[in-house]
Amino acid sequence: MTASATVVRTPRPRSAVPTRPRIGVVKLASCDGCQLTLLDLEDELLAIADRVDIVEFAEATSRRSAGPFDVLLVEGSVSTPDQVEELLRLRAVSHRLITIGACATAGGIQALRNWRDHDEIRAAVYPRPAFIESLAQARPVSDFVAVDGELRGCPIAPDQLRELLTALLTGRRPQLPDEAVCLECKRRGVVCVTVAGSIPCLGPVTRTGCGAICPAYGRGCYGCFGPRESANAASLAAWFERGSPADVARLFAGFTAWSAPFRAAIDTYGGPPGAPVAGEGSTDA
């Protein structure tokens, strides 16, 4: 056979990863804790600031930008009509939009109100609810716009944020495993709190990334990283049912309650604590 034609190429910048990407950090309905994780990367912060151009990050700098962004980190759930509008605008000016934290990826703790009557909740929280514009449900960003990646957790894990940034800059795929917390427990040598202590733990159905912090301190995982792939919440919930049904719903009714597998388990076991019984509340979007 003849040799293939050989073409000499000159090096060229990778179009997907600019040499100094413009990064924005914005928030919707949230506590700001996930954004602050970026500032917690103390050892690498200077190097990161050198390699990326942080053009929007209200928690850290008065410098502001409306875009465009090569990478936009979005924190918080979508809870108001204004946020929907802002989110659509941000999506249009962002090459990659990455959601960070339980609120942005699953609706957050505030999504527990999704089981309750919207007006009742507003009246309970605000003295003059008429001035409050909010959506009937607090929902994850991915319900409204396409999302290019996500960091789970309440708050997100510094190691995973570091991996995301490194992967973006080097052009590799971020290594964010979608497996169970149990793998991390066993690698660390943490004794299973469920088997050895009958402590209910969502670790088997929750995505890893936290380093199995809670079981390492003898308590059950409360699922803040949300469901892992193939999360068999129904089987785990049935096993927990040896307690009372209300307890089962409470276990899943945490920071990622509104994620599909956990929501189904909550509904099967009578809704989150304090929620009206099925049929009375307004859960329609």
Binding site: L183, R188, P204, E229, L236
Partner: protein, 658 residues
């Protein structure tokens, strides 16, 4: 040698002797409400008077005889934590201008003494050693750690409710495999050495011989354990029963309960599967790898380029785990992968009991059909370490680049290492660069001074490889796997069938045949591609089109009006085949679906199953059969393949989710 007697009050003298031998002592102690194996300072750290009460999904520590230290049962995680640790550093890669420096992690393992090892745990260590010493390379880290560890066994005097070592012929009696074997009886321990290293320690203790009564007490004790356990798993013919149960409805029923949380595999003393994680600096100039425990229950384990998974369903993963432990482990290593320790039962968060599931999936008396794949040798397919030439790592410089299609290119690598240049058609290499996972790439041309690799940008690592400037260095590990048996086609007609990028590993076949063309009969090349723009090696093939001794037929899935050739799937090219299938040796590569259809079509044309060769794409990671990713029934694709005949594969090629 006769048994000796060590009074319980002098147990610390054994610890002292082990320490004097330069060893850290690892043994059972109470931690977090269970028994864990940790470094011990002395006999006082042992779990005196504590016993593990275990049931499916439930483990509790209870109280026993406070004068006894080894009645506890078993620790949570097996000794593999020390011989096959959860995380092991791999290599460090650093770019310096165009060149690449690679340093493999090196270090001498700690000298350890494992105290309190059970019979089932000795069996498990032996099984893992067989796995980790399988050829062509084995696992150097494991071999070194095992060599630096000393086993002090203590025979079980008490059974737990999850034990079934008796059924797996792995206990409870400690027979061999321990450097020092002990039995805890009233007032002290029977002590026996089982190796030279053990003997020198026992001799230093200067113990009196055990009395006949003491020896009899120990024997009675372990006999009682055997009776208490009974024979909970019907092991007779179990591998065959399981091989015939690949379509059992029970798999789906287990998957309703199974969380796929991986606990069973990580507490298992024989499970060995790992994955490699990469880390790097922000610029990707320096990168490191780390090998970590993984599990066939995690979704990423069977994932390949393009995010496809070979075992998407939990039922597939459970079937993989159970059939591997109890059936295909025999195919691979000539032994069971289970020792009956019961950890997978005790530590399953939802109490799935493998003893029950085995009986349900593969009951005795299940009508058995023919086995799904040909029988393996009695000692298993895995060769012993060192019986075949080991792959090497070499630095290679990118010296040529040719774009083939929108997402595929061929890079030429300059290589001087003769071990890699000795690669055969059908073999592959792992291509390493800082900050990226190392993808397995089939060799698409073997030259006297280098290799060509035809790479499709299926993910970031492959995209980067075909985007590196000329002159850049990468590291290449290989040659890996078993290639095409081209010489068996001499004197016969040859049919080569390629789908898409499947032509890449077949190009060296054509090179070899054309290099000695008169030794073969008719040679026919059937090529399929998604579209005309997705055809590979177009210029080369058109240059070959003029040869009278080579027939080339092409077809594409879809095309515009300027394509004058055929449209359809590659098997349609056989419509007008006027050849005698019995004279043909076939070499086939493409997507698995295309290969299955081609295999069926070739069979209809009379091509023998043992003369139809395919090459499989699996999640090949380590390349030497020790990470577990590419397992397919009785095979590790990276080592036993990737080239197989249809006859070798049997149903392993046809069962979905295997």
């Amino acid at each position: 040698m006769t048994d000796r007697f060590l009074p319980v009050a002098e147990l610390d003298t054994l610890f002292d002797a082990l320490a004097a031998d330069g060893r850290r002592i690892i043994g059972p102690t109470v931690g977090d409400g269970a028994i864990v194996y940790e470094e011990l300072d002395g006999a006082a750290d042992l779990p005196w008077g504590r016993v593990v009460e275990s049931a499916p999904g439930r483990v509790r520590l209870g109280d026993g005889d406070p004068a006894r230290a080894f009645d506890y049962g078993l620790g949570v995680t097996a000794w593999k934590r020390f011989t096959h640790p959860p995380a092991v550093p791999g290599a460090r890669f650093r770019r310096e201008d165009d060149s690449l420096r690679v340093e493999a992690a090196a270090g001498s393992p700690p000298r350890l003494a494992f105290v309190g090892v059970r019979a089932c745990e000795i069996a498990a260590l032996r099984i893992q050693e067989r796995v980790m010493r399988a050829g062509p390379l084995g696992d150097a880290d494991h071999v070194a750690r095992r060599a630096a560890s000393l086993i002090v066994a203590v025979e079980c005097a008490r059974a737990t409710d999850t034990c079934f070592c008796t059924s797996m012929e792995a206990g409870p009696e400690v027979s061999d495999g321990a450097d020092i074997a002990m039995a805890e009886i009233a007032g002290g321990f029977l002590v026996r050495s089982g190796s030279a290293a053990g003997a020198s320690i026992v001799e230093a203790l200067d113990l009196r011989p055990a009395t006949e009564a003491e020896t009899a007490a120990a024997a009675a004790q372990v006999r009682a354990v055997r009776e208490a356990i009974g024979d909970p798993v019907a092991a007779e013919g179990l591998p065959d029963r399981l091989r015939n149960a690949l379509d059992s409805p029970r798999w789906a029923a287990i998957a309703d309960r199974c969380l796929a949380c991986a606990n069973c595999t990580l507490v298992c003393p024989t499970c060995f599967c790992t994955s490699v994680a990469v880390a790097s600096d922000l610029d990707g100039i320096e990168g490191t790898t780390e090998r970590r425990w993984d599990s066939c229950f995690s979704s990423g384990f069977a994932r390949v380029a393009g995010d496809a998974s070979f075992r998407p369903a939990v039922a597939d993963r459970y079937r993989q785990w159970m059939t591997h432990k109890f059936a295909t482990w025999w195919d691979q290593f000539g032994m069971s992968g289970c020792v009956g320790c019961g950890r997978c039962i005790a530590w399953c968060p939802v109490a799935i009991d493998v003893r029950e599931e085995l009986a349900a999936v593969a009951p005795i008396g299940l009508p058995s059909g023919p086995p799904p794949w040909p029988a393996s040798p009695g000692s298993g397919r895995a060769p012993e370490i060192g019986t075949t030439p080991p792959p090497v790592r070499a630095i290679a410089r990118i010296r040529s680049f040719a774009r083939e299609t929108a997402d595929t290119a061929t890079i030429g690598l300059a290589i001087t290492d003769p071990a890699i240049l000795a690669a055969a058609p059908g073999q592959f290499v792992l291509v390493e660069q800082p900050a990226f996972a190392a993808p397995p790439i089939s060799i698409s041309r073997i030259r006297p001074d280098g290799l060509e690799l035809t790479i499709r940008a299926a993910g970031p690592a492959t995209a980067r490889l075909i985007d590196l400037p000329l002159g850049t260095e990468v590291a290449v590990r290989g040659p890996l796997g078993r290639g095409w048996p081209i010489s068996t086609a001499r004197g016969r007609d040859v049919v080569i069938v390629a789908g898409g990028i499947g032509l890449a590993p077949l190009r060296p076949v054509l090179d070899s045949i054309l290099a000695e063309r008169p030794r073969f009969g008719a040679v026919r090349l059937y090529l399929g591609a998604r579209s005309p723009a997705d055809r590979l090696f177009v210029d080369e093939l058109s240059a070959l089109g003029g040869r009278a001794d080579l027939e080339i037929a092409e077809i594409v899935d879809r095309a515009g009006g300027d394509w004058l050739g055929r449209i359809g799937v590659v098997t349609q090219l056989f419509d007008q085949a006027a050849w005698d299938g019995s004279r043909v040796t076939a070499f086939v590569c493409g997507p698995e679906r295309m290969m299955r259809a081609t295999a069926a079509a070739l069979e209809r044309l009379g091509v023998a199953r043992d003369r139809t060769w395919v090459t499989l794409e699996r999640n090949m990671a380590c390349g030497v059969g020790t990470c577990g990713h590419c397992q397919l029934g009785p095979f590790f694709v990276c080592r036993d393949g990737p080239v197989f005949s249809l006859a070798e594969l049997g149903d392993a090629f046809m069962v979905e989710g295997l």
